[in-house]
Point group: C2
Chain length 140, copies 2
DNA sequence: CTAACTGCAAACGTTTTGCAACTTT
DNA sequence: AAAGTTGCAAAACGTTTGCAGTTAG
């Protein structure tokens, strides 16, 4: 199940393609996001420092914002104060397991949000967040 | 267009029905939410104090959380740091105009999220957030 | 009289920022 | 050398909390 086989040089290329200098910190951040998927900024910070102690909190945040602005990653707000970054920047949606706090992807083709009847005229579609909150069925 | 004609005594009753003491502050908060719709906690705080100067920030937040827990209102996180409270607690979805920061309701019957093919087995549906971000079409 | 509520101010957790030091080209 | 990047610590942001005083039942 480690079949994705992402190599760091690919990450470097990806960053360069978006005009981002592939510094060690940025490569690590994106690499971990691409392999681990679905983590908060702070989890990422902890994880990176446990292994490498080479990334400051500020850099993690700045890097994530930069990559988000350049469309390399996505940010999903799963509950009021909690954002999870998403390695997959393509249009897709999410199940959010409120018990495990885990985010599960839903392929974009399973929901069509641009074909809603009441879609406002003259407006541009910028994106859609679809978060379907699920949990263990109550044990009662 | 002020046809909804919500009276404060109705608000009081609504609060009592949910086991919430209808204090002056709580009635004002819910009344303003029911008439104005779609406001952040802070906007609500400003608005109430401009007219009455009778509600503290803490009370606004506590009141909103209480009413949210009791299912009287909803909370919609429209962008990472920004929550908008929603007078309508029934299942429904939203367009979010990123230019005007305005939230527009989409009736629940226009999207069916519980009938997704990949819906995880053995999990309970807790709710869904659907936020479709729109904006003025780029003037270029 | 008791329980509940409010407001203040301080604490909170997360994210952003200013700036000096350090890389990279 | 110039431009870009990093890390620290401080600040900012929205929100929550502890507690004393107030109000309601």
């Amino acid at each position: 199940m480690k079949a994705q086989g992402i190599e760091k040089f690919q990450i470097e290329q990806e960053l360069r393609d978006k005009g981002i200098q592939p510094t060690a910190q940025r490569v690590e951040v994106l690499y971990h996001l691409r392999t681990g998927r679905h983590q908060t900024a702070d989890e990422l910070f902890e994880l990176l420092n446990e292994e490498f102690s080479m990334v400051s909190r500020a850099t993690v945040y700045n890097t994530l914002n930069l990559m988000k602005d350049r469309g390399l990653i996505g940010e999903v707000v799963v509950e009021p104060g909690k954002s999870i970054f998403d390695a997959n920047s393509h249009a897709h949606y999410h199940f959010y397991n409120v018990d495990t706090k885990e985010l599960i992807d839903i392929p974009a083709d399973q929901i069509c949000v641009t074909c809603l009847p009441g879609y406002p005229a003259g407006k541009e579609f910028l994106g859609a967040d679809v978060i379907i909150r699920i949990g263990e069925r109550a044990p009662g």
